[in-house]
Amino acid sequence: MTVNTADQPATTMGNRPTSKTDLFMSFSLLALQGFGGVLAIAQRELVEKKQWLTRDEFLEDWAVAQILPGPNVVNLSLMIGDRYFGFAGALAALAGMLAFPLLIVLALAALLSGVSDSAVVQGALRGMGAVAAGLIAATGFKLVGALKSNPMGRTVCWALAVLSFVAIAWLRWPLVSVLLGLGSLASLWAYRQLGRAQETGVAQ
């Protein structure tokens, strides 16, 4: 259960949520641990601990959740819930993702309406922000291993990743144009490579 994620096998493990209640509770617990963003903890819980998804499946679902409009962890919960228990499962996972965090954030808003600009609170928020930045970057590093089985090949994958990083982090291009621009170029290339693999009979 506690294998190093970098060498995690990319095979289907066959674990799944046992019920809609399980879905709701799992996503609630996951959301409640997600300070400064839920994605890092979602990857750890769903892939490493519960093993409902392999690393490759997680990356594929994440790509879909990311390109569709709306909060991406909300999209992800909806997709996973639907896959196991249909519409009701989607609602259960969605409710889990939102219900308790909503109560907490409203309670905080009511309580903190006066103190949120004190130096200590501001400092603590800054510290948590720095950690949250590390969490999300690490999630990216963990998923790099999934590129090994990508039909575009290692060089193209790395080139695309570096270009995307530079465009978003340094040049600050709008996210939509990077996702749609580089993303569709990459998808076209992958389409071509998948076709080639089929022609030559290489099992991909």
Partner: protein, 198 residues
């Protein structure tokens, strides 16, 4: 702060969030500038401070960051009711604001996601669907690392403000390579920040 709020205004609030929902590619936060100009500048339903603290609070609290929208709705409703000290009526309006804001921002996008993801999963063996997922993979991975970079940059440049950057880097390596629970890291970050070390 107090604002006068009519039935038409509630409808306008709902329509505003509904109209932004499908534009929120990459998360609801990407539509924050549009919300700011509408809610704070055009309509003056929210104060500048209420807007920024809603985002900061939702990011610090557990759960999806989209909850800043719930807080925006909460504050609009609270202002419509005459402020936090105006009695239970204001609290009910605040809750109504939460409902309107969240339904508005989530209903169109979740409906689309539900339908599109279902279609994609049913057709997952199609060459086009596989190509999309494979092609997006490196872009999406880079996006995660870039998001970390951008969040870290909010502390300032790495040369001038090396301490938060160091904390970010150490966190990234620990999370990448170990199973240490993330709450320990967040707690440490909060403590260091509160002590003024960063």
């Amino acid at each position: 702060m107090t604002v006068a709020f009519t039935g038409t205004d509630w409808l306008a609030l709902l329509t505003h969030f509904l109209s932004l929902s499908l534009l929120a590619i990459g998360g609801a936060i990407t539509t924050a500038p549009a919300m700011h100009s509408y809610l704070v500048n055009d309509k003056a339903w929210l104060s500048e401070a209420q807007f920024t603290s809603s985002i900061a609070l939702a990011q610090a609290a557990p759960g999806p960051n989209v909850l800043f929208i719930a807080l925006l709705g909460w504050n609009v409703g609270m202002n419509a009711g005459g402020g936090i000290n105006a009695g239970p009526g204001a609290w009910w309006l605040a809750l109504a604001g939460v409902g309107v804001a969240m339904v508005g921002i989530l209903l169109p996008s979740t409906t689309l996601t539900f339908a599109a993801a279902r279609w994609g999963h049913r057709n997952r063996e199609l060459r086009a669907v596989r190509a999309f997922k494979m092609g997006m993979a490196p872009v999406v991975i880079a996006l995660l690392v870039a998001t970390g970079w951008i969040l870290a940059s909010s502390a300032g440049s790495p040369t001038e403000h090396w301490r938060p950057w160091l904390l970010t880097s150490i966190t990234a390596v620990i999370v990448w390579r170990t199973q240490l629970h993330m709450l320990w890291l967040l707690g440490t970050g909060a403590l260091l920040g509160a002590m003024g070390v960063l």
